[in-house]
Symmetry: C2
Subunit: 301 residues, 2 copies
Amino acid sequence: MINNLDHLISLVKSLPKKVIAVAAAEDAEILEVVEETEKIGLAQFILVGDKRKIEHLALTHHKTINCKIIDEPDHQKAAERAVKLVVDKEADAVMKGLLHTGVFLKAVLKKDGGLNIGKFISQISIFEKPSGDGLMLLTDCAMAIAPNLEEKKKIIENAIEIAQIIGYEMPKVALLSAVETINPEIQDTLDAAILSKMADRGQIKGGIVDGPFALDNAVSVEAAKHKGITGEVAGRADILIAPNLQVGNVIHKSITYFACKDLASAIVGAGAPVIITSRTDTVRTKVLTIALACYIAKASV
Amino acid sequence: MINNLDHLISLVKSLPKKVIAVAAAEDAEILEVVEETEKIGLAQFILVGDKRKIEHLALTHHKTINCKIIDEPDHQKAAERAVKLVVDKEADAVMKGLLHTGVFLKAVLKKDGGLNIGKFISQISIFEKPSGDGLMLLTDCAMAIAPNLEEKKKIIENAIEIAQIIGYEMPKVALLSAVETINPEIQDTLDAAILSKMADRGQIKGGIVDGPFALDNAVSVEAAKHKGITGEVAGRADILIAPNLQVGNVIHKSITYFACKDLASAIVGAGAPVIITSRTDTVRTKVLTIALACYIAKASV
């Protein structure tokens, strides 16, 4: 069981070092996080991209880059090459550098020669519970814009899988909506009821699934008690399933900018961990995201 | 200019005490906040409700209630009576006790004998900026479920009015959406563009209005810079306008449960401040909400 984000980092440091293939690494911010991650002994990198630019950037930004560089200035080819390194088991995870997300993901999810294993791709944010009692997962904040019932089921399954990897044997999954009661006019509340019952019937396995919940009664035992909501998940959620990307994204950003807390982010559902960091992420957030990918890669072996 | 929430409380304590009429005050939690608010010298109360129950609750919960009690066990009549106290200038604000919000608001918004002044009613949450640089307003988290363009304009105008009362001469208003670019398929981004231009043309006055913004580039100068978003509002918003209630509510709750910060809440647009606290609010939050109503009442005189 991983207790907090520092614990995640120290666990990963104690493991054999994972190798991360970066697509289009010709970016000062990417080189900064590569240098930082190597310095603390968290992972090794193979940089795929414009070698001349990478070396020039390293020089001008005083970055010491000790890793292998594969020269491939073309973005699409660089993405495909980075993915191939993972497919060929020369790397454990693939990371997006300075190229369009669409181009990167297309290479990752190529049916032939990519990391497409037929699963739904979703994003999960991981942060420390306000109670200090372990990590909380929040999904989806970045990939699935308006998931339908079937897609929500897959988002839940992806999240349960990651929660189990970080140590929750039977994670408590809260399906968020604007309200905690069923309202026939709010589709999210109907979806939540249906998904809860699917889990009751064994159609979603590995977690205790309940909803709808408003955010407060999912994460606060007091708030759940005030509303008279019972059950194992109420106020004690390990996983928060947002009804749509807008809600997931705004919770993620509230945690970053109002709670000023670190988050790690994972893209899951591919044949290996996929790392996408945002330019606005702090170096610490980027390092945490890489650590999480390494930890998930370890579990997938 | 009010710098923070403690400053709000100390300012209100220095003013002549405002009188708050509570509708259906027969509730232990209401009596607790009444006692606490009177103790710190913030406001006076007139309790309208079931007098026998109020006195019994005060006795059993050891609450010292020094205020006038008007016996009216019927909820609708109690709400109407509390509103009448404000209309008759015997009280400065009206507060919801233990009765349905619908019944309470119906009395508040009655065209004849209520506090309906023909304005749109909206809710505003107020909290301290993460930068420590004054207060931030967030609207609407509780009243307007899916405001249309015209309603969003009124929500903005209500927020600007309150921002000016708390000391922002020309508040910076950020219109939130999932993304900061115009996307013809996301109505919120179109509304934001239109509302920004309405403000440019003087159709919304008293604030600098810009949008769409994603939450991060509205509140973080760094994040705005990363995205190349310029303008006075980018990263420096004083007011956040949520595209819908779901988003507003989840930001409010993230601030409460993840950032663990206090918020005050105001219902604005009626002829006097309207106070609705939630059962899950802390006593501190309830006291802050009352203080905010007193401060707004002072400005309306």
